[in-house]
């Protein structure tokens, strides 16, 4: 299934306020697009609009089909979402949790086929979780849990994977491990990935292309080198950074300014006080 995506004129309102305005985006099949931007920029709203979780206007096409014309089951076969704070039901085993990803393929009576069980097991193996298949998810470590959530999304076998800050709660080692897993699977399966990312260095290292949102609109897009400049980050994040480019990619280092030391915070925070 083709994961190429076209978004045109996407607008999302929440509680009467426009949080995403007239957004246009195109993604090629197998591309990894990183959505970056300060808090409240509209990153999560874009992902939720694609997943059909919030009302939106505009048009979103996956392959050549508009998702507005799809049933919720059909849409779930094309788009899988890894939320920022997934709910882990107490006592649910890894295999039962990953099987939830096969929901859009079950019969109307909720019966699973052997193919569904095999697909869930493959996703579990892909994320190196085979030894934990019958363990309750809530007994696993943070990194293992996050891999279980990604395995559920992979079991959905959809061509588009949406990641909402998938590693924000993990330490740097586990974070790299999880993102490396996603990247390897993306390359082998031709998955199209859109991820909201706070860590700009990781965004630069893993994403093919970056889109910076601010106030619900695109303010910069392109390669990491083109988007992640000290000036753009200062303007939209209100932070001073040093951007270093070496053989391992782009590295964004925040710099504590004299002003923020004295005031005990950044300029953006200070402006809210």
């Amino acid at each position: 299934m083709n994961g190429a995506m076209d978004i045109s004129g996407l607008t999302v309102q929440r509680s009467g306020s426009v949080v995403v305005q007239d957004l246009d985006l195109s993604l090629g099949n197998g591309e990894w697009l990183g959505l970056i931007g300060p808090n409240g920029a509209g990153k999560t709203s874009v992902l939720e609009a694609i997943a059909g979780l919030v009302a939106s206007t505009g048009r979103i096409d996956i392959g050549d089909e508009a998702i507005a014309s799809m049933s919720s089951r059909e849409r779930a076969r094309r788009v899988a979402l890894v939320p920022q704070n997934p709910v882990i039901p107490a006592g649910m085993t890894v295999i039962d949790y990953v099987m939830l990803g096969r929901t859009p393929y079950l019969t109307r009576l909720g019966v699973e086929s052997t193919e569904d069980v095999v697909a869930a097991n493959i996703a579990i193996c892909d994320l190196d979780l085979a030894d934990h298949a019958t363990t309750p998810v809530d007994r696993l470590s943070g990194g293992e849990r996050q891999r279980v959530v990604i395995a559920r999304a992979l079991a959905q076998a959809s061509p588009v994977l949406l990641l909402d800050e998938p590693t924000s709660a993990l330490d740097v080692g586990v974070r790299m491990e999880v993102l490396d897993h996603i990247d390897a699977i993306r390359r082998s399966c031709g998955l199209t990935v859109i991820s909201a990312v706070h860590d700009l260095t990781l965004a630069a290292q893993f994403c093919d292309r970056l889109v910076m949102l601010s106030g619900g609109s695109i303010v910069a897009q392109g390669s990491a080198e083109g988007v992640l400049t000290a000036d753009t980050i200062r303007r939209h994040y209100g932070a001073r950074v040093r951007v270093i480019s070496d053989g391992d990619g782009l590295i964004v280092i925040p710099i504590r300014t004299g002003d923020s030391r004295e005031a005990g915070g950044s300029g953006r925070m200070a402006s809210h006080r």
Partner: protein
């Protein structure tokens, strides 16, 4: 990098072993319930009587006409009704817990039983035909669950504690309304009280026939959605992203559970805590998947209420305790236990 699993892990499924164990316990409760009573009728006599009713077997019953009448007019309808009411209440409790993702959801704590009781009381005092007793209870139950959730929402959060407090408030109001209706219709007071205190002791095949269609339909609907309840466990947004029509599922399951509860309340009166005790006990043995919890709650609830009825008949023999007293004695401490163990989720 697709890896090939060397051994397939299988999702949680209902095992024949667990069904067999529960079925044996239910059968033991049924037989004990049928044996209990002043008239001395043995197991072999009961078995012979049942087999004699099956054409073609040629088995002769050893019972006298009076014994036969006691068995078919008193003991059998009592255990059958207990089984149906217990199964329906336990299944409904488990379904409410799944659909509201709340371990304390229960037909009584959410005010549904009080709403059904008000509906049934109004039907009795206004002299509606018996066939309208259950529909009246259903309307009262639906009204109560809607009021509980509307009140819970206005309190600003969706925690279990808020929901229970809203349920307690609605149940108190509806119970007061029921009492007011009873006081205003003293000529029907005896009939209403007899019903409220539990009717297993005076029940017959009429009550079984009244409950049966509602119990069967609501049971089939709830069991149909047992896997979907596992999906709802990850939250509305995640379930929706998996392709589940959350609002439709919630509406259908709540209506089915409320219809079952209302019908059970209409024929048996107020029997509390079955919907909490049984599903939580089942979870202790077989885990949390609703695919297993729902069918086993149905079976276990059937056996539990028959056993509670046996206790109600035997504890202060020859006098009988109302069955609701027995379930409340067991349920209140159980509720505290569940509340303590689920505090971190509230």
């Amino acid at each position: 990098m697709t890896a090939i699993p060397t051994r397939l892990a299988t999702p949680t499924r209902l095992s024949w072993f667990s069904v067999g164990v529960v079925a044996i316990l239910v059968a033991a409760a049924l037989v004990t319930g049928a044996l209990l009573g002043p008239a001395d009728i043995g197991v072999s006599q009961i078995l012979g009587e049942v087999l004699s009713r099956i054409p073609g077997l040629g088995v002769e019953s050893e019972l006298t006409e009076i014994q036969r009448d006691i068995l078919w007019s008193w003991r059998f309808p009592r255990v059958v009704l207990g089984m149906m009411v217990g199964g329906t209440l336990a299944l409904s409790g488990a379904a409410y817990q799944g659909v509201f993702r709340n371990p304390l959801a229960d037909p009584y704590l959410l005010g549904i039983a009080a709403g059904a009781a008000l509906g049934a009381t109004l039907a009795i005092v206004t002299g509606l035909p018996a066939a309208l007793l259950v529909p009246s209870a259903f309307v009262g139950g639906v009204g109560a669950v809607v009021a509980t959730f509307a009140l819970g929402r206005t309190m600003g959060d969706r925690s279990a504690t808020t929901l229970i407090l809203a349920g307690v408030a609605i149940a108190s109001f509806l119970t007061a309304a029921t009492t007011f209706v009873q006081q205003r219709n003293s000529e029907s007071l005896r009939e209403v009280f007899a019903w409220i205190l539990g009717r297993l002791s005076t029940s017959g095949w009429t009550e079984v026939a009244l409950l049966a269609p509602y119990a069967v339909v609501s049971t089939l609907v709830m069991l149909r959605y047992r896997r979907t309840l596992d999906m709802l466990a990850v939250g509305d947004d995640e379930a929706a992203s998996l392709g589940v029509d959350v609002n439709r599922v919630r509406t259908v399951v709540v209506l089915a559970a409320t219809a079952g509860t209302a019908a059970a309340v209409a024929v048996s009166g107020l029997i509390a805590f079955v919907g909490i005790i049984v599903p939580h006990a089942v979870r202790l043995f077989v885990g949390t998947s609703y695919r297993v919890v729902l069918p086993l709650s149905l079976l276990s609830g059937a056996g539990f209420l028959v056993a509670a009825d046996i206790a109600a008949r035997g504890l202060m023999s020859p006098a009988e305790l109302p069955i609701g007293v027995v379930t409340s004695f067991l349920g209140a401490p159980f509720f505290v236990l569940v509340l303590r163990t689920s505090r971190r989720n509230l």
